[in-house]
């Protein structure tokens, strides 16, 4: 492998990892409040179809991404009502969300005619539909060796995701508000006694998670793949859920993990330009096998399990009467 291949593969890993990063960041914030939302894949799909459609209609990348995020938020509201107000089992509610998101996106994606037969015509990034998400920094910087493409060559969305990682980390660990949020996730009874509104925190951060997943889905459709097809995420939402565990609910760790998995997802592309042939079915398998193995390794490490545990009340509905 020469340098160019290596650089290109890092760049494609970042691009492929970014949708997963948005979704995982959102889910980290949701789970920090004590709500587990397994519906990430469904919210990403809704975000993807909405973002793609708005992109085609408005030719604006910003509106497309925003609309995708809002669509994810709307779907997450269903989970919030079920999990927080109706105290439905959160695994069940999350799975229901996946199936609804999958069905809803496939249904509307087919009606709008966006899932048209001729994908070349529909690809948003390259063609007349013209939502182009271009690199933004001066070309002088982009043309620097190595750091040019890897650090300075990205579009605004990727820089935005870096800013979000910083903001999420700052919020969680350096502000009073973040401390309150973590308290709600760790010990809602104590948080309630301290005068915090448990359900308000949980509602807000379930919606934040929905926005992250929807935004990730929209960026996947508009910025990475450039088209819409039913089941576009191909399990990316589930990988995001796994990343939340792997990252130990820490935003910066989610960034690294998302890029690592982005690298695995774009491995086919990397190997192709390096001239190595591997059966495509095995390439497709790799991110999932890796996730499976890493989740086991992480859980088998007792030292880590003690140090980085999930929020203590994760997945448990809070009811003041039952305290």
């Amino acid at each position: 492998m020469n340098d160019t291949v290596l650089i290109l593969s890092v760049v494609s890993a970042i691009s492929a990892g970014t949708p997963i990063l948005f979704a995982a960041l959102g889910e980290i914030m949701t789970e920090r409040s004590g709500v587990m939302n397994l519906g990430v894949d469904g919210m990403m799909l809704i975000g993807a179809v909405t973002g793609f459609w708005v992109g085609v209609e408005t030719e604006s990348a910003v509106l497309a991404l925003l609309a995708g995020g809002l669509a994810g938020t709307l779907l997450s509201l269903i989970h919030a009502v079920l999990a927080i107000s109706l105290r439905v089992n959160q695994v069940i509610s999350g799975l229901a969300l996946v199936i609804v998101g999958n069905g809803l996106s496939a249904f509307w994606g087919n009606i709008g005619g966006t899932a048209a037969d001729n994908s070349a015509d529909q690809a948003l990034v390259q063609t007349k539909n013209g939502v182009s998400i271009d690199p933004i920094l001066p070309e002088v910087l982009q043309e620097l060796p190595v750091v040019g493409p890897i650090v300075f060559g990205h579009d605004l969305v990727i820089y935005f995701s870096w800013a979000l990682v910083g903001a999420a980390g700052y919020l969680l660990y350096r502000t009073q508000f973040g401390l309150s949020l973590r308290a709600v996730g760790e010990d809602p009874g104590a948080a309630d006694a301290a005068g915090l509104s448990v359900s308000r925190f949980r509602y807000v951060f379930t919606l934040v998670g929905g926005f992250g997943a929807g935004l990730g889905g929209a960026y996947l459709a508009v910025g990475v793949i450039g088209t819409w097809a039913a089941g576009l995420t191909a399990g990316a939402g589930w990988i995001a859920v796994a990343l939340v565990i792997l990252s130990g609910w820490r935003p910066w760790a989610a960034l690294l993990a998302a890029y690592a998995f982005g690298a695995l997802r774009s491995l086919g592309f990397t190997l192709q330009i390096a001239g190595i042939e591997v059966a495509s079915d095995f390439l497709a398998m790799i991110p999932f096998v890796a996730t499976y193995l890493v989740v086991i390794v992480v859980s088998a490490n007792p030292a880590r399990a003690r140090k980085i545990a999930s929020p203590a009340s994760l997945g448990q509905p809070y009811s003041r009467e039952a305290r």
Binding site: L82, L86, R87, N89, L95, A96, I99, L104, S199
Partner: protein
């Protein structure tokens, strides 16, 4: 005047509530789904009439529905027995694929002239074993490291799908028809095919219904079933009582996988007749989760719910002829799942809304009992 909502848990919900609430959930899902159909520019009543006509009205539609209900009963049971124990096996989809791979592999390997009953028993057992092993890949880490089975079972679904694709589209394997110009599975011998009852309906339906009754009995009436229920109520209490928590966990999850594997084997033997990844990858495993949830994880309840959802799925192609995207059936499934999940709250709690005259002005307004 203000409204006051009070919520009190029910100790044991009366049977009327357990019937009325899920029925109301189904109606709510149908209404929302109908609105979607109308928003998409179609006639909702015509759509639902088409669902009924193409799935339940007449012998031929009924046999089509029952044929699809067969694997859905089995994947529904797979989800029901695991979810009852709070083991979230989302992997029936992959376990079904592996069952189909094993069953078709055995059917193509075993000499075709052995007696038909023996052949069918062997390939179904092979499918069960493959499904159990695939679930075991999640059960063992769960038992020893408490690894999140939601993630592991789901990841294994994608692995199984790629593996099945590889056998037909990516290699020249035992499963592939060497003479066909395009990639296609090799037909299994006649001795491995399930005999038919009427139209395409085959005897697999009896296996599925038999499994439901058997499991209902096992979990209701045997020591094993009692111990499993104890573990699902409290792991601590079970350990104290000397019940092997890990062995129960592994046995339930592998049994769940075996049921999904049997579904895959029966699909091969009764319907598909060759390893065909595109036909097999039709979300039978995921739909099983919806079946189990709507049946409230009751093994006998799985049977009618599977028939109902099978009818819905079967009508997809007829709806397409009306100009409605066939994905509506997945959307309706999702809506049913969602409303049934929400309904659990109203089964578990008694909600009463009473009008009261506020004593103090600032006591008025909304959900007083949050």
């Amino acid at each position: 005047m203000s409204k006051r909502v009070s919520i009190s848990p029910r100790a044991t919900p009366p049977w009327t509530v357990r019937v009325v609430v899920p029925t109301a959930s189904l109606i709510a899902a149908a209404v929302v789904g109908g609105l979607m159909i109308v928003m998409a520019g179609n006639d909702a009543f015509e759509a639902y009439r088409t669902v009924f006509d193409s799935s339940f009205n007449g012998l031929r539609p009924l046999t089509r529905t029952m044929t699809l209900a067969t694997p859905l009963i089995l994947t529904g049971l797979a989800a029901a027995i695991a979810f009852r124990m709070k083991i979230w096996n989302i992997g029936a989809e992959g376990q079904l694929y592996m069952g189909a791979v094993a069953a078709s592999g055995l059917a193509l390997t075993i000499p075709p002239d052995i007696p038909k009953p023996l052949m069918i028993v062997v390939i179904i057992l092979g499918g069960a074993a493959a499904g159990a092993v695939w679930a075991g890949l999640a059960a063992i880490p769960k038992a020893y490291f408490n690894t999140d089975e939601v993630i592991t079972t789901l990841m294994l679904n994608f692995v199984a799908l790629s593996f099945m694709n590889y056998l037909i589209f990516g290699s020249t394997s035992l499963w592939k028809n060497p003479k066909s110009a395009f990639p296609q599975g090799l037909l299994i011998p006649g001795s491995a095919t399930m005999p038919r009852i009427s139209y395409r309906l085959h005897y697999g339906i009896f296996i599925a219904v038999g499994a439901a009754v058997l499991l209902w009995w096992v979990f209701r009436r045997t020591t094993y079933g009692f111990e499993v229920r104890t573990v699902s109520d409290s792991k601590e209490a079970s350990r104290y009582a000397g019940i092997g928590v890990n062995s129960k966990l592994i046995s339930v999850l592998t049994l769940s996988g075996a049921l999904a594997g049997i579904a895959g084997a029966i699909e091969i033997s009764g319907v598909v007749k060759r390893l065909d990844p595109t036909v097999l990858a039709s979300e039978l495993g995921y739909t099983g989760i919806v079946v189990a949830a709507v049946a409230r994880f009751n093994c006998l309840g799985v049977i009618p719910v599977a028939v109902l959802l099978a009818g819905l799925v079967v009508s997809g192609s007829s709806l397409q002829r009306l100009g409605i995207p066939p994905e509506i059936v997945f959307l309706l499934q999702g809506l049913i799942f969602l409303f049934v999940a929400a309904g659990e709250f109203f089964i578990a709690n008694k909600v009463t809304i009473t009008s009261t005259v506020p004593v103090q002005p600032d006591a008025s307004g909304g959900l007083a009992d949050e």
